[in-house]
Assembly symmetry: C2
Amino acid sequence: MPMVKTIEWLPDKVRIIDQIRLPTEKVFIDCYNHGDIARIIREMNIRGAPAIGVAAAMGIALAAKASAKTDYQEFLAEIEEISDCLAATRPTAVNLFWALDKMKQYILDNQAKPIAEIKKGLIALAVQIHDEDIKACQAMGRHGAELLPDETFILTHCNAGALATAGYGTALGVIRAAHELGKIKMVYVDETRPYLQGSRLTAWEMTEENIPATLITDNMAGFFMSKDVINAVVVGADRIAANGDVANKIGTYMVAVLAKRHRIPFYVAAPLSTIDLTKANGGEIPIEERNQREVSHVKDIQLAPDNVGIANPAFDITPSELITAIITEKGAVFPPFTKNLARIVNE
Amino acid sequence: MPMVKTIEWLPDKVRIIDQIRLPTEKVFIDCYNHGDIARIIREMNIRGAPAIGVAAAMGIALAAKASAKTDYQEFLAEIEEISDCLAATRPTAVNLFWALDKMKQYILDNQAKPIAEIKKGLIALAVQIHDEDIKACQAMGRHGAELLPDETFILTHCNAGALATAGYGTALGVIRAAHELGKIKMVYVDETRPYLQGSRLTAWEMTEENIPATLITDNMAGFFMSKDVINAVVVGADRIAANGDVANKIGTYMVAVLAKRHRIPFYVAAPLSTIDLTKANGGEIPIEERNQREVSHVKDIQLAPDNVGIANPAFDITPSELITAIITEKGAVFPPFTKNLARIVNE
């Protein structure tokens, strides 16, 4: 993988590439404690559902390493408090809560061990969550690439790439794997307002690996679909409900509606950790409302008049009826999703 | 009308408000000859189908005023050459060609008059095209406002406002008239990438007149429609084909598809000069491809990596089956559009 590392566990710190400064600057941020990790998640120096799950796990590992507690219950209470703080950074992506639960469960399962051992185990688990995420992305890539035609002209929205995961990517993992098979003729990259994950991050990942890409504004997707130059769509997911409804970056729903009208297959690539069987449908998934300034400004340039109202929901819900298949590390899941998602999660 | 004047004929020049600098700066540009006019149309200091029609007419008036020709045929030839130059500035909006044709027809119809009289007549005609555009917008406003419910939550895309016309606006004329009737509860304003006519211009027009407005990114339209908070859509048009297909700002098609899915009425407001019966359907309307830099940069800030491909079609085609009604100065036209558009144009 020629990509820079999205997030890396180093002996005394966690290093991430600052996704706010990409693509014009490659700057790394070193995080020394869980407070640093909470800040980079909240401020979106790191983003993408799987990536923030990994970051949260590493935040717990940093906190455990630094803990002065010698009593198990006190140690557990301290980590639980820090876990709540990390959980409060962003509400929609379920991988964050999934990773924090996994870390906590490890502490509960290893009560008999000395604290020093538990600390080592938590660090090893955070690294394992990181490594398994890359493997899951590679598996998703293989499963997804099989579904694509020999000459693929594919649209993607937002960045579900190496930068959104520990590496390789979910939606972009599918594109990478298809590219390795020689199938990718063109990747249409939605710029993805307001945060521009498409133009800043996905376009950068594609150019870094010489995968043919055309950047478009979000409102051009329908134009190119109507010209019959797109034959597949693949996106990531921040949370998938039990019925297959998908929460993903704002604008995903629009792409899915257009794809349906033009009979273009619409694929969602996400690890099993993104599936939340406790939510019956997409209506139960909380949608984050972010700062108005993301819409009114690009860096210091003001785009809108003072005093206009602004809305900034960061995600939307794509109903499962618009989804052709959900591609996981265990294979592609087709409708009926309620039955087939439950089966793949529980098997 | 408390709005600034979009374009104004002054004794020795044409004055426009520079739409590139809005909303943070109110700067006027004075045009002294047809070359200045061609430049401000091409560079989009003035934009909007009816407004560039008015600008082109005033460009011909400036050229006529400055002409040293004393021979009718030489005068006609000079104006025809200048007309071709103005016609080459932008390809999609038909109002540009309509206004130039009208100016030329005046010269042909008044061959018997002295050149000095023809010059005066051309200036008077340019001013008349300007004034009639405002009246047409006001009439569209009245006809359109009648179609809207008592509590209107309306989405608009791009800027089909006072700034896109001689004044009052087409789509925003409908919104202004409905606001005067107390019907407007909320205007959802698509920011309209890449040129940001929504955030920079429409949001500004709404705040200037205290019409309640919420700015959203283009990819949020589906989210708000799915929340049932939008009950009407109104947009302008750059050209309407004989069958009712509408060329309008890129992204209009996407909004129309979403409106259809959510059973929200989709209205197009445009003067009769926008209807081009010589084009059987939208497929025959030329679509302008603009500079890649509009997508890759916001002012001097680079949003995308070097070397990524970029597409920038400035318009798309909304098929007539997605359109509820086309609102003209002579009233609203409903399907079947082929029959009803021909009738209203020719009556």
